[in-house]
């Protein structure tokens, strides 16, 4: 009795941690672009989707493992993101937020439907060997390799990003812009260039996430939206302008969802609603999020 309880708890912990890794990947790109430019990029989920398709075609056409094609996919993502930014978002940086919402929304629609036209709605998947492997942590508890790799990569990306933000010249400039745009420009930082950079970086992360998702989720042109919504919820929970907050938000959400899925009857059906419930709760109790400082006027 006690051991099966313990084993259940262990299972929940393992699952929650691994899920948290996946969620971190989904949210980080959005957190970066929003934190710096204060624009919610509604096309973020679709950037992830393109990353997945890129990895898929590399896998099925050229037999390249998704993890190997990941750097190339990320670079493609960065270039694509920068171009998108330069040709559209850059022009409306000063506009009312409604215009920004509609523009990025429209970009998302375009990206999604180009994918539908090019590749149809059929589900694809990359099938590298590690996606099908797993090992027993204990009698009843299984750890899936694919998820574990995602977790490891998430940790690596986070470490890299945080290090870059802390110690590199550009990284510190980015943080400055994110904290106080006016002051940063007074200090001689080219704010617009930093915007472009963060968008490029955020798209690179998004595309890389897509490459990893290619063996975790079915790839369809419509996979982007649920990812976007989750990422949204996570960055609100964690705090809009804090990368670390995003990580905490991701694990917070993962633990809540997993616990409910395991412990509540039909829990997995309600788990989807958990994100929204927590979101609203957070907005009422502490709009800035767990680690954020952005208050009322977004």
């Amino acid at each position: 009795m006690a051991s099966s309880m313990a084993s259940l708890l262990l299972q929940i912990l393992v699952d929650a941690l691994l899920l948290g890794g996946v969620y971190t990947l989904m949210a980080v790109g959005l957190s970066l672009s929003f934190g710096v430019t204060r624009i919610i990029n509604f096309a973020h989920g679709d950037v992830v989707m393109y990353g997945s398709y890129a990895a898929f075609f590399a896998f099925s056409g050229l037999n390249i493992d998704p993890l190997l094609s990941l750097p190339a996919v990320a670079i493609l993502g960065a270039v694509g993101g920068y171009l998108l930014f330069k040709f559209s978002i850059d022009r409306i940086l000063e506009d009312v937020s409604i215009n920004q919402v509609l523009l990025t929304f429209g970009l998302g629609l375009i990206l999604q439907n180009v994918a539908v036209i090019l590749w149809t709605g059929d589900e694809r998947s990359t099938t590298p060997f590690y996606a099908f492997q797993s090992w027993f942590l204990s009698d009843d508890v299984v750890v899936a390799n694919g998820r574990l790799i995602a977790f490891g990569l998430a940790a690596a990306f986070m470490a890299l990003l945080l290090a870059w933000l802390r110690w590199s010249e550009l990284g510190r400039a980015t943080r400055a812009v994110s904290q106080n745009r006016a002051a940063a420009s007074l200090m001689g930082i080219n704010v617009r260039a930093i915007y472009g950079l963060s968008f490029a970086l955020s798209s690179a992360f998004g595309a890389a996430t897509g490459a990893i998702m290619s063996f975790l989720l079915p790839i369809t042109p419509f996979m982007g939206f649920p990812i976007l919504v989750k990422a949204f919820a996570i960055i609100i929970l964690g705090g809009l302008d804090s990368i670390l907050g995003t990580v905490i938000g991701a694990f917070f959400l993962a633990i809540a969802e997993t616990a409910i899925a395991y412990l509540v009857p039909q829990g997995i059906g309600w788990a989807e609603g958990v994100a929204f419930f927590l979101l609203v709760l957070m907005l009422i109790v502490r709009p800035a999020g767990i680690l954020g400082t952005v208050g009322r006027d977004a």
């Binding site: 509609l102 429209g106 998302g108 629609l109 036209i117 309600w270 009322r296």
Partner: protein
């Protein structure tokens, strides 16, 4: 302050709404009904946007109205023309709830809350099949479904009424409050308007109107399920129409609705039945609209009229 001329125009429009459907061919009749529902959500969304509240969850109101109408029709055989009343009440209540819990949160936070709310409603509709038919959906009791002509007249009348309301609102003393609210709520207080109550009023009215669209859709289709009733496309259309037609104006949502419905019909006829083309066009409209036509068709027409009537460029103020 409302002139007799205004009332005559409204009366004429209502009369047209009642009579025209009798002579429309069935395809146009359908189109007119779809147009009406779109006008309703477009005007409603525009109203909220006018007050600085961006709603990303308008499908929530639609679904709420649709399910209210359908469930009441099946349970107590409530006739369609009466079912708008409970639907509007619920829509208003939902709007009030939204405004209340988001308190002073503006802009982005309000937007996200609306999205959360509408998704939550959809999950509820799915998870309580005993009440809502769940994922399998719900048929509206067939015997009391009105004929197509009646339905179209009803829809058009509601659309006319909604545009009239939005017109009156724009001419009332609240118009200044609306503009102020977009920028700063403290400025609103200086006009002697209580911002909290005002915001609740706007969301209530807006929500009630959007719920009517759901009611029409439920009666018109005869069948609903959570995916369709809370469809994201509703939210998208309710934003594109005012943007395209002219944000914050009275005519904008109407013109925008006609324009995008026509555009979507034409795209489909033109491009045959290739998947994804319709939404792709929507995406382009959004992007190019925002980049090159931020004041919408109404704004453009103002500029052109300015050029013609005065021979020099009219300054178009960005809202």
């Amino acid at each position: 302050m409302t002139s007799a001329r205004t009332w005559i125009v409204i009366a004429a429009a209502l009369l047209a709404a009642l009579l025209v459907p009798h002579v429309l061919p069935p395809g146009l009749s359908d189109w007119a009904t779809r147009l009406s529902t779109l006008v309703l959500v477009a005007v409603s969304w525009n109203m909220m946007a006018n007050a600085g509240l961006i709603s990303l969850g308008h499908s929530g109101f639609w679904g709420l109205g649709a399910y209210t109408a359908a469930l009441l029709a099946n349970a107590v055989h409530m006739p369609f023309w009466f079912s708008v009343v409970p639907a509007m009440l619920l829509g208003a209540a939902f709007g009030v709830f939204l405004a209340y819990i988001t308190g002073r949160l503006r802009g982005l936070f309000f937007a996200i809350s609306t999205l959360a709310m509408s998704e939550a409603l959809r999950v509820v509709a799915l998870m309580v099949p005993k009440l809502t038919g769940g994922a399998e959906g719900l048929f509206v009791f067939d015997q009391i479904r009105p004929g197509r002509v009646t339905m179209t007249s009803f829809a058009l009348c509601l659309a006319v009424a909604t545009v009239a309301i939005s017109y009156f609102l724009s001419k009332s003393r609240y118009q200044y409050a609306l503009r102020a609210m977009r920028d700063s709520e403290s400025a609103v207080q200086m006009l002697g308007v209580n911002p909290a109550r005002f915001r609740i009023g706007v969301t209530a009215l807006s929500g009630a109107i959007a719920s009517c669209a759901g009611v029409i859709s439920a009666w018109y289709t005869g069948y609903l399920d959570p995916g369709a009733a809370f469809d994201l496309k509703i939210t998208i259309s309710s934003q594109i129409a005012p943007l395209f037609g002219g944000l914050y104006t009275v005519a904008g949502p109407v013109i925008g609705s006609i324009a995008i419905l026509t555009l979507s019909e034409l795209t489909r006829l033109q491009f045959g039945y290739t998947a994804g083309v319709g939404l792709l066009v929507y995406g382009f409209i959004l992007v190019f609209g925002v980049l090159f036509m931020p004041t919408g068709i109404v704004g453009l027409s103002h500029r052109w009229i300015g050029l013609f009537t005065r021979g020099r460029k009219l300054a178009v103020t960005r809202p």
